[in-house]
């Protein structure tokens, strides 16, 4: 029969929310964050499943049950009083063993993203030997030795804290982490500040970081310098508009010829005076010379009207539009 590991298990004891050390993330298996439903549930039926806590001189360190405790803290704040709850204390157990056991318990419940894995890897370094990390931690995370994911976890763990937070929130892709890892801490921090300040989603952030990296590589200029220049271009804009300004600024710097071609084509198309509903597009990325004209119509009369208008366009203007760019 498989017996549950009982090391460190003990009788339930009473504790106060104010004595929980929420800042401690030695057991970083939950992002935390109390949701309203959980707070209401606690208000209604109390804390049914006791958290696992490690008492020490600073207070009660959270081993498992962070979300429940954060919800309890929120409830205490709403009520304006400290709240008492039951927890299971852990004592006399090696912290490394406890770490791995809790990891396995959580691993059964959910997958960890890149940033979370990096945070776990960092935390493991404080309680596990290098040998145990190799032999026990990585297999527990399901990561093969010398795999790319493993390398990315290690790189993520080396990023500045702002970027680690972004990674843990799932906003940094592994590919992007590889780029950022080669940047200076100042450049990393600049991106972290940008991403925390503006509403930029994972894909947009990836695009911006890749472009910054390309520009920095091309011009031997720091990525943070490019980001600052893009920020100046976006001065006066806020929110999504500022993000768009930054994106466009970087695109134009990285693709000057393509941007000029697009602008030139748009101007030439404007000069044609196309009928409403008619779309005229260049070849994708101006690769080749197949232009695409399309329009919608609802009747033969409308068809004839559009074709008539199109036939009246000056051929020189059309040739001008089709010229190589």
């Amino acid at each position: 029969m498989l017996e549950p590991e009982s090391v460190g298990m003990s009788e339930l004891v009473r504790g106060m929310v104010s004595t929980v050390d929420f800042a401690d993330r030695a057991f970083p298996f939950s992002r935390g964050g109390a949701d309203a439903v959980l707070v209401r549930s606690l208000a209604r039926v109390g804390l049914c499943q006791p958290p696992l806590l490690l008492p020490d001189g600073r207070g009660l360190r959270i081993v498992s049950g962070r979300r429940r405790l954060e919800a309890l803290r929120q409830l205490a704040a709403e009520r304006g009083e400290d709240l008492e709850f039951l927890y299971r204390p852990v004592a006399g157990e090696d912290e490394g063993d406890l770490f791995l056991r809790t990891l396995w318990e959580n691993r059964a419940l959910r997958e960890f993203n890149l940033g979370e894995s990096a945070e776990i890897y960092l935390a493991a370094g404080r309680c596990l030997s290098r040998e145990r990390i190799e032999r026990e931690l990585f297999p527990a995370l399901g990561i093969a030795p010398r795999s790319r994911l493993r390398r990315r976890i290690e790189l993520t763990a080396g990023l500045v804290p702002e970027l680690q937070q972004l990674a843990a929130a799932g906003r940094l892709e592994g590919e992007v982490v590889e780029l950022l890892a080669a940047w200076s801490p100042d450049d990393q921090a600049a991106v972290g500040e940008f991403a925390h300040r503006l509403p930029v989603n994972r894909n947009r952030l990836r695009e911006i970081i890749v472009r910054l990296d390309d520009l920095a590589r091309r011009d031997r200029r720091l990525p943070g310098g490019w980001l600052a220049a893009a920020g100046e271009a976006a001065a006066g804009c806020a929110g999504a508009a500022a993000v768009e300004k930054v994106r466009n600024f970087l695109r134009e710097r990285l693709y000057p010829h393509l941007s000029a071609a697009e602008a030139g084509f748009a101007a030439d198309r404007e000069r044609l005076g196309l009928p409403p509903g008619v779309r005229l597009e260049p070849p994708p990325f101006f690769e080749g010379d197949d232009f695409r004209l399309s329009f919608t119509f609802t009747s033969a009369a409308e068809w004839r009207r559009i074709c008539h208008r199109l036939n009246e366009i000056d051929p020189d203007l059309i040739n001008e539009l089709c010229r190589p760019r």
Partner: protein, 401 residues
Amino acid sequence: MNSAVPAESRSFAGTAAYSRACFRPALLLVEEEAREEELTREIIGRLPGVEVRMLPRADSRTLARLAGECDPRRTLLLARHRGRFFKPCPGTGESYRCCLYQILHLALGCNLGCSYCVLQGYLNTPFITQFVNLNEAFAELDEALAEPGVFYRIGTGEFTDSLFLDPLTGLAPRLIAYFAARENAVLELKTKSVAIAGLLDYPGAIGETIVSWSLNAPSVSRREEGRAASLEERLKAAALCRDRGYRIGLHFDPLLYFPGWEEEYRAIVGRIFDHLAPDDIIWISLGAFRFMPQVRDKLRRNHPHSRITAGEFIPGRDGKQRYFSGIRRRLYRFLVAEIRRYAPGVFIYFCMEDESLWRQTFGYAPADNRELARWLDGCCWRYRRLRPTAERGKPEDGRDG
């Protein structure tokens, strides 16, 4: 020309350029089934004192394990090739004009270490590999070339440098001898090395063998082409091969766009004609830098200081990243004009390029891949002799630069 110079120095053997580019492994991995092949014995004989380790079979798992134990830069794998030796160039496709080149696949990888080399993303073996079952390779060639009326341009430099292993393998003279006796095929040896001793010293008829050098802007050559011979050394080697009777091909591939590119490419074009006459050159190809997107990370990882992948690249119709067409057009027009200043009649073609760029640069374009192939075939004397019976293309289709 140069007949008073001792053969050794004429052929670059013993020079710094020669030893830089020529590969001398510290370890030979030999597949069990390759042990008795003649080429295996010859290579081992040319490397006295070099450790030889036998492998049951060079499968990917074994090689991946060995990559952790052996330095891939100093290891040569001798193996049997179990696939086709003779096959179409993988560039073949219809999105861009392709010359329908054929590959004789005798080796994999090279030690020159060019930062732009797309093989970094394609090869699935960590070791430079020489295939040693030559009898099968030649049997396959015999069968293919027996087809009447079909003309082939065949190269060995698609997945490796054609000559950098030659001091160990002595393969080039064997290939020259084989193709010299064939009417319906020409061999092109493409290289950035100066390992031409075997070519110069080969005593027999060389037929119409073409020796080609890849050229680039001087700063690109210095920064991005690792252990390759300098441009000057390559051109001197080309002149020596020309003196021996070889026809010379030149390939500006990959062309790179960078500040000062015009001056640099103008300079190298000028240097070509300090060493070669227009009539020495059978063809010059131009190809702007392009790569599969997934190769980019590998190029950057292997060459972190290189800036070549940070250009204005757009996704092409074949999925490869290519310079924006306006940039390619500028590169091509400039190079073509510069080459034409010295050699108005030399045949210039694009490797894997869009039909519209052909028209914008030359004023004409091949209608399809077969027409481009016919133009290149037409550059070869043998093809001209074959014309009356060749089924592939009409005589008037041949475009002689």
